[in-house]
Each structure stands twice: as C-alpha cells, then as structure tokens.
Symmetry: C2
Subunit: 226 residues, 2 copies
Amino acid sequence: MTAHIHDLATADGRRLSPYCWAAKLALAHKGVSFETTPTRFIDIPSIGGGGFRTVPVTELGADRIGDSFDLALKLEEAHPDRPALFAGPGGVALTRFVGAHMAHVMGKIARVIAVDICAALDRENQTYFRTSREKMLGGRLEDVAADRAGGVAAVKDALKPLRIMLRGQPFIGGEDPFFADFLFAGVVQWTKIVGTVDFLEGEQAIADWFGRIEARYGAVLRATRG
Amino acid sequence: MTAHIHDLATADGRRLSPYCWAAKLALAHKGVSFETTPTRFIDIPSIGGGGFRTVPVTELGADRIGDSFDLALKLEEAHPDRPALFAGPGGVALTRFVGAHMAHVMGKIARVIAVDICAALDRENQTYFRTSREKMLGGRLEDVAADRAGGVAAVKDALKPLRIMLRGQPFIGGEDPFFADFLFAGVVQWTKIVGTVDFLEGEQAIADWFGRIEARYGAVLRATRG
C-alpha cells in the first residue's frame, strides 16, 4: 500500500509544512511508501472534495486523514510490529505535551520567518497567507519580524528543554526516534526549507540530534521538492 | 515498607522543594507510605554520611536514592501492578523531555521568587542560598526580581505548552497522572508554599489540572510542614 500526501508547497514547489514533514517521517519510520502532490495554501479547502482546513491530508488505503498526529496513531495501530511511534497509550499522552511544545516553538519561529515564507508564495497565496498570519501573529509580517535578534533569542530560549534533554539521550524517544522526534524534526526542516535564518547556529546538541534523524531518513528529507 | 524522605524545609519548617513534592506524590501514587525529616540546604551534604548534593534523598528499603526521577523509576520497577508512573520505556524517555521543560519553567520562576525564598531561610542558609543562586541566576537576587511583571510574563509564556495540552486531556499522562504530572505539580506546590506570587492567576486550565491532582493527593499536598 502506498500512501498519498497532499503536501504544502511554495510557488517553486519546495515542500514547506512542518506537519507534512512529520507525517512523511512517520510513514518512513513504519516502512510505508508514499507519493506526494504539491498543494498550495488556497487549494487545501478543495482537497478530496472539501472538509479539510490544514495539511497534511493523507490518503491511506480507504482512509483520508486530515492530521499528522491522527496519521501517526493509525500507523501505530496498523503496524504494531514495526518500530514504535508512541510505544503505548502513555507515550501517546506524553507526545501530546511534546506536540504542544513544538507548536509553541513554531509560533516563535513564525514571528521571525513568516515574512520570508510570504515572499516564497505566488500572488494569490500571498494574499491568503498575509491575511491569516497577520491575524494570528497580531501585526504586519514586516513589523513582527523587525526585531530579528530578539525573535531568534526567543526561539532559542524556547528550545532549552530540547537542548537539556539531549544531554541524557540521543532522541526524544530515547534510543530511537518517536513521533515526538518527527514533530520537532519537521520544524527544523521547515526552517531549512525557508532558508533565511539558521536557528541551529550555536545549537550543537540539537544539530547533532537532527543529524541522527538525517542519518536514518536522509532520503525523505532530501526530497525537498517531493 | 515505609519510605523516608529528607525533605527540604524553610526556617519555619515549610516543605519547599519541587522535586521533594514530586517524590512524595510518586510514592503516594504507588501506595507506598512515607515519613519525612525537615532538612535545610546546608544539611544536604551530611545526609546519610555524605555524597548527596540535592534533595530529595529517599531511603527505600536498603536503597538510598538521591534523585526524584531515579526514585520514580525504582517505584515503577518494584510495583508494575500499581498505577503507572511512566507506562513503559517510551514513557520514561518522553518524561525526560517533560522534566527538562519543568526545569526550564522552574528557572524562570526562580528569577521572580528566589529573593522571597531567601527571606524564608535562617541566617546560615541565607548565606549559602544567596551565594549559590546569585551565581546560578547571574545577578543579585533583588536585581533579578526587580522586573516582577516581566518575570511573571516569562513564566506564563513558558507555561503555554502545558496550557495548550490541557485542552485535550485531563493529565499530562492522559486519563490519569504520571510522574510527568507530579514534576509540574511539584513546581506549582513550590510557588504556593513560598506564597508571594500567584502564578496560576488567570491560568484556569492549569489551576483546574492542579485541582485534579489535589482531589487525588490532597492529604500529601496539605502536609506543608511534613
């Protein structure tokens, strides 16, 4: 069975969404092959005839799944014999906390790079993106990004728990990566795809951890245009 | 078997340490009774003839355990049939992340209330506390605490992942509390014991979660002087 992902893309086809990257890494972790369709922000509401508001939307057998966490849960249920994404209900609950932390970090990164993401979209998508993100971030993209040094410092402060934890173990999942790792790896990949700020500068422990993800899933991460 | 905890205390006997509270909640969760000895900062190096630098130090049968996380691991191993603290090795790994996040939040709270904690110690302990904490926090306790509103805002920002997560489930552990919950509950209890700043003001979701912990472990949390 090959999964199919509607995968958020910039005007030049670069795959953008942290959550889409997390989904692709989760599929690879479970040994499920996948294809992708580049999808623009304004095309999301038409996927599968409508009803979806965010990506990834993943077609997996008869299912159409509109959330990366739900996809990971389905994969874990379908393939309990393959490498774990959660390792039990306790792992699912705790991964919700990591996911909340990842969203918190993402919000801080967005303040710095939303203006750069906007520049990488076509005109129609720029209008949608600017309107929705300025509402979300509470100001003009240019104004929110004006204090770049302050914005980067806030991101680095929010990364401290990941940095501390990596002193003691190679992955958030312990000896092997879990879906929690893929959530954060998706965020790092997102910043690399946008490419305007290197948030891992001076972050050796986090860079080394991302290197360990790349060592396992390099083929997935190198497919930056699908 | 009754455990014995060397439990950090202020000059008037109030039990202070977030990690001691986490240890006591973990013992109660596993149905292990315990006694405590109030212990001052400067007495920690003499516990059990020396060798310990932090509390809690817990005597459990033939073991003397110098770390709350290690205690929780021992309890889980000894009582796999009782309510879970981690629910498997994946849960242990992910709880390390929550623990790192809890330490991150604690550091931000310490900036605001370390000066108040200092005031609650006797003269000898004040000297130790001031010297060690001013080195840790990078300035005079009074200076670090000067911008109280800014300090509280930084704490509330760092609590965002917990706040987001609690929209979806009653405990960090899911339907029941895990050691991850007790780590954060210890921090809340610490701020209540110091009693100078109400960090849960306007934090209904977190206050409700702490209320659920109190509903289960009220007797433990009410024993503020052991």
